[in-house]
């Protein structure tokens, strides 16, 4: 059963610290932006206009227009949707892989553990960008492919952390007691281990999301992610980089939003970590 009193206490303590408070506010703001994008954005993200190309920021176009005459502000607002959506998806996949593999690895040990750890170490050793690019080279370009690529590349971190946690819990009395009663492995893992892992899972997920956003926008920047006219922040940046000299606003604003969003989640994650699981290392 989720501990409601504990949750409330955690939230209250989070609000006491300026850093995590800032994090919460940022996350809320970006989420609202993503949720209500159609209402907030003055124009559609794909609306081109041959008249308004490359106009600097003004009262009508907050962030100016790009080389197709599209309103950068609207594109950035819709971009929040993509960023959060992709971030959540990647985090979900990574968390699922991490929990499953971490549980198996930590609970059973032995060959299973060695195999998973070895695979994880090998993937982890490779620079993520190169590996992700490699996957994209095989699968082709596109947002879905990028999501798969990032998840494939980043699962070792999550798994390693959870494995350590499981190992620290597995020898405790309540697990040994459950085994003695004859509970099935699956039951032990879901009813006893999993609830105890929840705080760590929450912290690691919150800190994984900004990485996911940074990686996916990077791949989009390089042209392998979102395909036009999808207003992924990285893609907008990429288009803007070509006209950096004459229309710097196209590249500047999406970047600011990436930084703010990632910062918000990082601050929130750090705050959660201090409260829920201070010894955690990422």
């Amino acid at each position: 059963m989720p501990n409601l009193a504990g949750t409330k206490k955690t939230v209250l303590q989070l609000l006491r610290y300026r850093a995590s408070l800032a994090g919460i506010l940022i996350v809320l703001a970006i989420s609202l932006l993503a949720l209500f994008a159609p209402l907030i954005a003055p124009r559609g993200y794909a609306e081109t206009s041959t008249v308004d190309m490359l106009r600097p920021p003004s009262a009508q176009d907050f962030f100016g227009t790009d080389m197709y005459g599209r309103d950068v502000f609207s594109r950035v607002v819709y971009g929040a949707r993509i960023a959060l959506w992709v971030g959540l998806l990647v985090t979900f996949i990574e968390a699922s892989m991490g929990i499953t593999l971490g549980l198996l690895s930590g609970f059973y040990g032995g060959i299973i553990d060695k195999a998973i750890s070895a695979a994880g170490d090998m993937v982890w050793a490779f620079p993520s960008v190169v590996l992700a690019l490699g996957v994209v080279a095989i699968l082709g370009a596109g947002l879905t492919q990028v999501v798969v690529a990032i998840a494939v590349v980043s699962w070792p971190a999550f798994t390693r952390i959870l494995r350590a946690k499981v190992q620290s819990l597995v020898n405790r009395e309540f697990i040994l007691a459950a085994k003695a009663i004859g509970e099935s492995d699956f039951s032990i893992m879901t009813r006893y281990l999993l609830p105890n892992l929840m705080p760590s899972i929450l912290v690691v997920s919150t800190l994984t999301l900004p990485s996911a956003i940074l990686y996916t926008t990077a791949l989009s920047f390089l042209g392998f992610g979102a395909q036009p006219p999808t207003p992924d922040w990285g893609a907008i940046l990429s288009e803007g980089s070509a006209q950096l000299a004459i229309a710097p606003w196209v590249a500047t604003f999406p970047g600011i939003f990436i930084v703010i969003t990632a910062l918000g989640f990082n601050l929130l994650g750090d705050g959660l970590r201090d409260l829920l699981d201070p010894k955690l290392r990422i």
Binding site: A137, L222, T252, N266
Partner: protein
């Protein structure tokens, strides 16, 4: 010293089979790629007779493992085939570009650690103070920043508006400045964070309390007992970060059109130049193995617990 040497040799010897394993995995992946391997090796627009010849040369008409051996021996002699686009031998391309990448990455890595680690340590020592919070906020900020955007902004401000540095290519000596700064800053934030965490961990260890209890001067306690221990994981991470900075280099080189291996990798992926991709990945893999070995050796030299086994009493 004997223990360290033995440990180093042991680690180095393990490295060899690992490299071989990596080449095998690479070969597997290459075989699963949807492209004709002969085109990969030969490039297109090659007469049919030559293709048959190459097929035999590279053993593509033979069983899988034999193919691998053919391929492996070619790799060992440095023959990676030819780039589909430029028709040049891949090894030539890599040799031409490797120095540029090293020129960029090695100073960046060193700089980011040399600047970042003291930052992190001081923040740990002043934990909870305004300076610590400020440092953490700044680090968080740079840690959340996409490298390519940082590069573009630096390009904008210092290159275009202020005209201080060139913004692309490697033509003038000052071309290296902006790319280096762009690559250094995220790693600086990262190493400062790590340094702070490790130092904080060390400060709460029991042996620190023992050192205080001996009545040693606080500088001795912190630097000799504390820092010495904190530096172990930090230095190891320095070596393990070598491959990662290559990853960062891919983006930075692309943004600044810096003629290094990272840039080459990007272009090759865009145009599906598989022979080049394969070669670069192999180089990176070898680099990873080497840096891991170095990291292990450094760890053993700094930490007696690794190189000396407890006696069986």
């Amino acid at each position: 010293m004997g223990a360290l040497l033995r440990y180093s040799i042991k680690k180095a010897l393990i490295g060899i089979p690992v490299v071989i394993l990596v080449t095998f995995i690479l070969f597997l992946i290459m075989k699963s790629v949807p492209a004709d391997p002969i085109l990969i090796i030969a490039g297109d627009r090659v007469p049919a007779a030559r293709i048959l010849e190459l097929r035999r040369e590279w053993g593509l008409d033979k069983p899988f493992l034999v193919q691998y051996f053919y391929w492996f021996s070619k790799i060992m002699t440095g023959d990676f085939g030819y780039s589909i686009l430029t028709r040049q031998p891949v090894s030539y391309l890599i040799w031409a570009r490797l120095p540029y990448t090293l020129e960029l990455t090695v100073p960046s890595l060193i700089l980011s650690y040399v600047l970042g680690v003291p930052f992190g340590i001081i923040a740990a020592l002043r934990r909870g103070s305004a300076r610590d919070h400020l440092t953490m906020a700044v680090l968080n900020f740079f840690y959340s920043m996409p490298t390519y955007w940082l590069g573009l902004m630096l390009m904008l401000v210092f290159g275009l508006y202020l005209g201080m540095f060139p913004i692309s290519g490697a033509s003038s000596p000052s071309s290296i400045v902006l790319p280096t700064i762009t690559l250094t800053i995220p790693f600086l934030a990262y190493s400062a964070r790590i340094a702070r965490t490790e130092m904080l961990d060390v400060l709460t260890e029991d042996y620190m309390r023992t050192a205080w209890a001996k009545g040693l001067k606080s500088r001795v306690v912190i630097l000799k007992h504390g820092l010495r221990n904190a530096l172990i994981p930090i230095t190891v991470l320095f070596f393990l970060d070598l491959p990662w900075i290559i990853g960062g280099a891919v983006i930075v080189e692309t943004v600044f059109s810096w003629p290094g291996m990272g840039n080459l990798l990007y272009k090759s992926i865009v145009r599906l130049d598989y022979s080049v991709i394969q070669a670069i990945v192999l180089v990176i893999a070898i680099l990873i193995v080497i840096s891991n070995i170095l990291g292990d050796i450094v760890a053993a030299s700094l930490d007696p617990r690794i190189r000396i086994e407890p006696e069986k009493s």
